[in-house]
């Protein structure tokens, strides 16, 4: 599931900020994985947003939840929670949290981004191990993976030609990864309760062994101003899978 999530996150970036991400949005996906040549539904992935206020600021809380369908729970239960707290206008992250339960494996992680965006104070804990704290340097434009998913939706892809790409950097498992998003063209795909949507077909490339193949990790973002992720396909060392949007609300 960690690899699947990473692949999903790789499927996403930014450059020409236009659209604003709204609070109260919810996107529900059915995640399927290829088993013996057939796609089998294994989990529900939910992306949602909400506002969270402190005495001085308001943050946009970006949430990604992954839960296996109840029929899989007795075999391999997944309850993953990824969160990011960002500036609502710029999507600059202030804090990133990760709490995963995958079968018997658990891990929690918390990144506090410094105000200048150059360092991260990280706290992490794996199952049966002591809590680790460390501080590491990052590039000023480095994003956490949850923020990246939303950031890419602010890109105006109509200004790109097929074949052109956008480069950026994400931080995952305390390591920075350069990622490129290449526009491949447009396609119409099914988007759950939204019907069929014309989408930008984007190919994700990353210098990591977590993703496999060329143009095998893809995301379809609707061409309208909402830029809803309608479909994601990923190829990882242990197989291939996809996420299909089943329900979108509050958009």
């Amino acid at each position: 599931m960690k690899r699947i999530f990473f692949a999903l996150c790789m499927c996403v970036g930014f450059q020409f900020v236009q659209a604003q991400i709204k609070s109260g949005e919810s996107l529900v996906f059915a995640a399927s994985y290829e088993i013996s040549g057939l796609m089998t539904n294994i989990a529900q992935v939910t992306l949602r947003t909400e506002n969270i206020s402190t005495s001085k600021n308001t943050f946009l809380h970006l949430i990604l939840e992954a839960e296996t369908f109840n029929k899989w729970d007795s075999f391999f239960k997944v309850r993953d929670l990824y969160e990011s707290y960002v500036n609502p206008a710029t999507l600059k992250p202030s804090m990133y949290k990760r709490d995963i339960l995958e079968g018997n494996y658990t891990k929690t992680e918390k990144y506090i981004f410094s105000a200048d965006g150059k360092t991260i104070n990280s706290t992490s804990k794996k199952r049966n191990r002591a809590e680790l704290k460390r501080t590491f340097n990052i590039g000023t434009s480095t994003l956490d993976v949850v923020t990246l998913i939303y950031k890419i939706r602010t890109v105006d892809f109509s200004k790109l030609k097929p074949g052109q790409s956008i480069a950026y950097t994400i931080v995952f498992d305390e390591t920075e990864y350069p990622v490129t998003i290449r526009l491949m063209g447009t396609e119409t795909v099914s988007a759950g309760n939204l019907g069929k949507k014309e989408c930008y077909k984007l190919s994700i490339g990353a210098k990591t062994d977590r993703l496999k193949g060329t143009d095998k990790n893809l995301i379809w973002l609707s061409t309208d101003s909402k830029r809803i992720p309608c479909q994601v396909k990923f190829s990882i060392p242990v197989g291939v899978g996809q996420l299909n949007l089943s329900k979108a609300s509050g958009i």
């Binding site: 059915a30 088993i35 013996s36 057939l38 089998t40 539904n41 529900q44 969270i52 402190t54 005495s55 001085k56 600021n57 943050f59 809380h61 949430i63 939840e65 839960e67 296996t68 369908f69 109840n70 029929k71 899989w72 729970d73 075999f75 309850r79 929670l81 969160e83 707290y85 202030s94 804090m95 949290k97 709490d99 918390k110 506090i112 105000a115």
Partner: protein, 107 residues
């Protein structure tokens, strides 16, 4: 040949039944379809033998096939209401709020 067909159809029927019980979705159609085809041939080859086993295997594999279709049509994929996970999300949010208040004070 008849014995081989019977043995293979039993094997594929058993695999089909196991896959149907496990949450393997439509994958269970593979072994059950093969089991049906093999058991049909086993029935044909056993015509003069008057044995009942191939017919029973055919019935079982067909029922398994229908069960897979039925599961796919009538049982929808759902996520369980997990109170522990709901509480974890709420706790995480409350912790984050405190942490963000702390960050506000530093700035």
């Amino acid at each position: 040949m008849r014995k081989l067909l019977i043995i293979l159809s039993i094997i594929f029927t058993v695999i089909g039944v196991v896959f149907t019980i496990l949450p393997m979705g439509n994958i269970a159609l593979f072994p059950t379809s093969i089991a049906i085809v093999l058991s049909v041939f086993a029935v044909i080859f056993s015509k003069n033998n008057n044995k009942k086993l191939p017919k029973w295997i055919l019935v079982l594999s067909t029922v398994t096939f229908l069960a897979v279709i039925g599961k796919d049509v009538f049982i929808k994929d759902q996520v369980a209401v997990d109170q522990q996970f709901i509480e974890k999300k709420e706790e995480s949010k409350q912790d984050a709020q405190k942490e963000l208040e702390g960050l506000d004070e530093l700035q």
